[in-house]
C-alpha cells in the first residue's frame, strides 16, 4: 500500500486552504467565549469552577467534533469522483486502500490540529483548580474515539456519493447513528462495569430509555463538570474501572473505524469505474421519484411556478428537492411522535426548531454553489431577470423546502400553547412580566426570514460550502447574541444603566430579534449590490 503521494498532495492542498486557519480560530474563539461567559456569570463561581469550566469546554469540543469532522471529510472522495480525478489516481499504481488511508490520515491530522489549537484554552481549568488528571485522560480518550468515528462517517458518506450536498447530509446522518451507537454501548459498558458492581441499590430494571440518553450525554461530554462530582462520590476501584472502560471504548472505536476505512477502500475498489445506472435502478427511480397520479395537475403546477419565477422553479423542480422537503417534514413528525409521551415534550420544540434553522442555513449557504460550479449562474445573470426576481425566486425555493417541517413544529407549539404548558420552554424564568414565549416565537420567525438572505450572500461570496454555512450561522444567529451580550456588559461596566444587565430572557430575545433583523437587512443589501454588480466568486 502506497499512500504517500496522496498524503503529499492532500497536505499541499490543505495547507493552501485558509479555511483551516479560520476553523482553528473559530474553535479557540468558541471555547474562549465559553470561558469568558462562565467567568462573568455571577452564579457560575459557586463551587469547583475549574471542573465546571472544563466540563463545558469539553462538551463544546465534543459537539464540534461530531458536527464538523464528518462535514469536513464528507467531500474528500466524492469531489475526486465528481471532478474526474479519481479515475486518474487509479491509472497510477496507487491502490484504493492507499487513497482512502491517505485521505483519512490527512483529515485526522486536520481534526487533530483543531484539538491542538484548543489545548491552551482547555488548560485554563487546570490552573483554576478542581480538575484532576482523570478528567483530562477521559476527555482525551472520548474525543479521540469521537474523531475516529466521525472521520469514518465522513469517509463512508464520501465514498457513497458524488454530489457534495448528498455526501454532507449522509455524513451527518451516519455521524448521528455512530454517536447514538457509541453513546449507547459506552453507557451500557459503564453501567455493566461500574454502576452494577459499585453503586449500591443499582438495578437494570430501574434504568429508562430517557435516563440512558441523559446518562450517555453526561458520560460522553462531562457537561457542567459532572465527571468530577461522580469521581468524588465513587470509590477508588470504581474510578479505576470507569477509566478502564473508557480506554476499552476508545480501543473499540479506533478498531471499528479502522475496519470501516478498509470497507470504504473495498467499496472504492468496486466502484472505481463509472457505471451508468442499471435498469433496475432506473425502474426504481421512475417508480419512486416520478409522479404517478394527477400528472397533468403536477405539470400545470410546475409550469405555473416556472411562469411566476424561473429561479424559484429551479429550486423546486427536481425529485431531490421534493425528497428534501418531505424528508424534513417526515423527520419532524417522527421526532414529535416519539417524544409525545415524554414529560418534558415541550422542551424539545426549541432544539427542533433550531435544528430546522440549521438546515435552512445549510440550504441557503449551498444554494448557488451548484450553479457556480456548472457556470449556469453566469448564464442566468445575463438574462433580463432582475436581481429581485433572482433573490425572491431563491427565497421561495428555500422557504418552500422547510415550510412543511416548520409548519409542523409551529402547529405543535400552538397546540401546547393552547394546553397552557408552553412556559416549560424556558424553565427558570419566573418573571410574569417577562414572558419569553412570544419573544422566542418572534426570534424563530425572524430567523426563518433573515437567515436565507444571509446564506445567499455567503453562498455567492465564499468558495466553500462549509465556510459559507459557518459564516451564515455566525452572522445570522450568533452575532446578534454576541452584540447583545457585549452591549449589555458595555452598559453595565460603564455604569450607564446597570438595569440593562438584569433584563430577562424575553427582553433579551426581543433585542436579539431586532439585531438579527438589522444584520439580516445589512447582508441582504450587500447581496443585492453583489448580484447587481455581478460580483461573486466564480468557481467553487
Amino acid at each position: 500500500m502506497n499512500a504517500w503521494p496522496v498524503i503529499h498532495r492532500e497536505l499541499r492542498a490543505e495547507a493552501r486552504h485558509t479555511f483551516n486557519y479560520w476553523l482553528r480560530l473559530l474553535g479557540v474563539s468558541l471555547l474562549l467565549s465559553i470561558f469568558v461567559m462562565m467567568m462573568l456569570d455571577p452564579q457560575g463561581s459557586a463551587s469547583k469552577p475549574g471542573a465546571k469550566l472544563f466540563g463545558n469546554l469539553n462538551t463544546a469540543l465534543f459537539i464540534a467534533i461530531w458536527l464538523l469532522v464528518p462535514l469536513l471529510t464528507a467531500d474528500c472522495i466524492s469531489r475526486e469522483r465528481r471532478e474526474g480525478t479519481l479515475g486518474l489516481l487509479f491509472l497510477t499504481p496507487l491502490t484504493s486502500r492507499g487513497v482512502v488511508v491517505g485521505k483519512g490520515l490527512i483529515h485526522a491530522l486536520r481534526a487533530a490540529t483543531l484539538l491542538l489549537a484548543t489545548l491552551p484554552v482547555l488548560a485554563l481549568p487546570f490552573l483554576l483548580g478542581g480538575v484532576t488528571w482523570r478528567e483530562g485522560v477521559m476527555a482525551l480518550l472520548v474525543n479521540l474515539s469521537s474523531v475516529c468515528l466521525a472521520l469514518a462517517a465522513g469517509l463512508i458518506a464520501s465514498s457513497q456519493c458524488t454530489q457534495w450536498n448528498r455526501a454532507l447530509f449522509l455524513a451527518e446522518v451516519l455521524a448521528a447513528i455512530f454517536l447514538l451507537g457509541f453513546g449507547g454501548l459506552f453507557t451500557f459498558a459503564l453501567l455493566l462495569q461500574v454502576a452494577a458492581p459499585f453503586v449500591p441499590g443499582f438495578t437494570w430494571r430501574g434504568v429508562s430509555f430517557g435516563e440512558m440518553l441523559t446518562g450517555a450525554a453526561i458520560l460522553c461530554t462531562d457537561v457542567a463538570g459532572m465527571w468530577s462530582e461522580a469521581f468524588g462520590s465513587l470509590p477508588a476501584a470504581a474510578n479505576r474501572a470507569w477509566l478502564q472502560t473508557v480506554g476499552e471504548g476508545a480501543l473499540v472505536a479506533i478498531f471499528a473505524s479502522g475496519l470501516m476505512v478498509l470497507r470504504v477502500a473495498r467499496r472504492l475498489e468496486r466502484t472505481r469505474q463509472e457505471q451508468p445506472p442499471t435498469a433496475r435502478q432506473l425502474r426504481w427511480q421512475r417508480f419512486f421519484l416520478a409522479p404517478l397520479f394527477w400528472k397533468s395537475l403536477f405539470r400545470s403546477k410546475m409550469r405555473r411556478r416556472l411562469e411566476r419565477n424561473p429561479v424559484g422553479w429551479l429550486q423546486q423542480r427536481s425529485a431531490a428537492a421534493r425528497i428534501t422537503k418531505w424528508g424534513w417534514c417526515l423527520f419532524v413528525i417522527a421526532v414529535e411522535s416519539s417524544m409525545a409521551a415524554e414529560d418534558d415534550f415541550v422542551r424539545y420544540q426549541l432544539p427542533l426548531a433550531l435544528l430546522l434553522i440549521l438546515g435552512l442555513a445549510a440550504s441557503a449557504a449551498g444554494s448557488f454553489s451548484h450553479e457556480r460550479q456548472s457556470g449556469a449562474l453566469e448564464l442566468i445573470l445575463v438574462t433580463p431577470l432582475s436581481v429581485g426576481q433572482i433573490i425572491f425566486g431563491r427565497l421561495r425555493g428555500v422557504w418552500g423546502q422547510l415550510l412543511p417541517a416548520l409548519g409542523t413544529v409551529a402547529v405543535v407549539c400552538l397546540f401546547v400553547f393552547q394546553a397552557g404548558s408552553f412556559d416549560l420552554l424556558w424553565p427558570g424564568d419566573d418573571d410574569p412580566n417577562n414572558n419569553p414565549n412570544s419573544a422566542s416565537a418572534l426570534f424563530l420567525l425572524s430567523s426563518f426570514v433573515t437567515i436565507p438572505g444571509v446564506g445567499f450572500y455567503f453562498s455567492l461570496s465564499r468558495r466553500h460550502f462549509m465556510t459559507a454555512w459557518l459564516l451564515t450561522l455566525a452572522v445570522g444567529l450568533v452575532l446578534p447574541w454576541l452584540t447583545l451580550w457585549g452591549g449589555r456588559w458595555f452598559f453595565f461596566l460603564m455604569h450607564l444603566n446597570p438595569l440593562t444587565y438584569r433584563f430577562g430572557t424575553g427582553t433579551a430575545l426581543a433585542w436579539a430579534t431586532v439585531l438579527q433583523i438589522v444584520f439580516g437587512a445589512a447582508t441582504g443589501g450587500l447581496l443585492y449590490r453583489n448580484l447587481h454588480c455581478r460580483r461573486f466568486v466564480l468557481v467553487s
Partner: protein, 320 residues
C-alpha cells in the same frame, strides 16, 4: 421573441471606447477601441489570456469595465445593462448546463428567464432545436449528451430569445471536424438572417473563411482590426519570396543581402527565403539583382500567408 428596439438603427452593433479592465495589478484590457458593424461575422483572435473573454464578458454585461465605455446596439453596457441583456445572446467557453434536466426543460427554463410567453415557447424551442440539429434529442437528459451536442444546446440557448447580437466565446472548441463545419454553417446561416456575430476562436483557418472582419488582440491591446481578407496585406511586415537558383547559392545570398530593399535572406533546403523590407517594396528587385549578378534564376514564388501565419508574426505569444 421580441427584443428591445435599439435607439438608432444606424449605430454599430458594438462600439468600445478606451475600454479597460484591471484585475488587481494586472491589466486585462488596455484602452480597447473596437467597432463591430451590424451584420458582421466578426472574428476575435488572440492568444490565451489576451483579453478576448474579458471583452466578451464586458459586452455581455457580466463584468463592469474599470475605465472606458462599451455600447451594444447603442445601449451602454453599464447604464442600460437590462436593455443590453435583451438584445444579446452570450455563449461562454463552458457549457453551463444542468445535467439532470432534459433538453426541452433547459430551453424552456431559459425561455422563461427571457420572458417569452409560454404560448410561444414550445414553438420557439422546437425551432431552435431544429436549427442546431438537436430535434431528435428533445427528451434526452443533458448529462447524457456528447460534448458536441452540449455545445449545440448552448447555441440553441443563445438563440432562444432571437437576439440581434451573438457573443460566442470559443464555440467550436472540443468539437470534431464534422461538428465544427456544421457549427460554422449554422453561424453563416445566422449571419444571413441578419444577426451580428462576434466569435472568438483559436481555429484561425476557419475564421479566415467564415468571418468578414477580424480583430487581433494581444495583452489587452488591439493590434489589428479590419477585413479578414485584407489582414495579410495590412499586417504582413514584408512579403516573403522563395527563390531557387542553379550554381553558387552563397554568391546569390551576398548579392541579395547587399540590396537595401531586402530585409533578410536565409538558405533553407536548397532554396533561398527572401524577406522584403515592407509590403510596398517592388518584388522585381530580387530577380533583377540575381540576373544582373550572373546567377541563374530558376524559380521565384511568393509565400502565401494565411491568417495563422499573420497571427504568429504580429503577436509575440505574450499572455498576462
Amino acid at each position: 421573441m421580441s427584443a428591445a428596439p435599439p435607439p438608432d438603427n444606424n449605430v454599430p452593433a458594438v462600439q468600445t471606447f478606451a475600454l479597460t479592465r484591471v484585475y488587481g495589478s494586472m491589466i486585462a484590457l488596455n484602452a480597447l477601441n473596437l467597432t463591430v458593424n451590424r451584420g458582421d461575422l466578426f472574428g476575435f483572435i488572440g492568444s490565451n489570456g489576451a483579453g478576448k473573454t474579458t471583452t466578451l464578458r464586458i459586452l455581455a454585461t457580466f463584468l463592469a469595465p474599470s475605465a472606458g465605455t462599451a455600447q451594444v446596439l447603442g445601449h451602454d453596457v453599464v447604464r442600460d445593462a437590462d436593455a443590453v441583456r435583451h438584445v444579446i445572446g452570450y455563449m461562454p467557453d463552458f457549457f453551463g448546463v444542468y445535467k439532470d434536466m432534459e433538453v426541452t426543460e433547459y430551453l424552456d427554463f431559459f425561455g422563461a428567464c427571457y420572458k417569452i410567453p409560454s404560448s410561444q415557447r414550445e414553438k420557439t424551442v422546437n425551432d431552435v432545436l431544429e436549427l442546431v440539429g438537436l430535434s431528435e434529442k428533445k427528451g434526452a437528459l443533458i448529462g447524457a449528451l456528447s460534448r458536441g451536442m452540449q455545445q449545440r444546446l448552448g447555441l440553441a440557448r443563445v438563440l432562444i430569445h432571437d437576439p440581434q447580437l451573438l457573443l460566442l466565446d470559443e464555440p467550436a472548441s472540443g468539437l470534431d471536424p464534422r461538428a465544427r463545419i456544421e457549427m460554422m454553417a449554422i453561424l453563416q446561416e445566422l449571419q444571413k438572417m441578419g444577426k451580428t456575430i462576434i466569435i472568438s476562436s483559436h481555429i484561425l483557418s476557419e475564421l479566415e473563411t467564415l468571418c468578414n472582419r477580424v480583430a487581433i488582440i494581444e495583452k489587452g491591446k488591439l493590434i489589428y482590426t479590419g477585413q479578414a481578407q485584407g489582414v495579410r496585406d495590412q499586417m504582413a511586415t514584408g512579403r516573403v519570396f522563395w527563390v531557387r537558383v542553379i550554381g553558387d547559392e552563397v554568391r546569390a545570398v551576398e548579392l541579395l543581402k547587399a540590396r537595401p530593399e531586402i530585409n533578410q535572406v536565409e538558405q533553407t533546403e536548397g532554396r533561398l527565403k527572401v524577406t522584403l523590407n515592407d509590403h510596398d517594396t517592388d518584388p522585381g528587385c530580387v530577380a533583377e539583382t540575381l540576373v544582373h549578378g550572373g546567377v541563374k534564376l530558376v524559380g521565384l514564388e511568393e509565400e502565401e500567408l494565411g491568417l495563422e501565419e499573420v497571427f504568429m508574426r504580429v503577436t509575440r505569444g505574450e499572455t498576462q
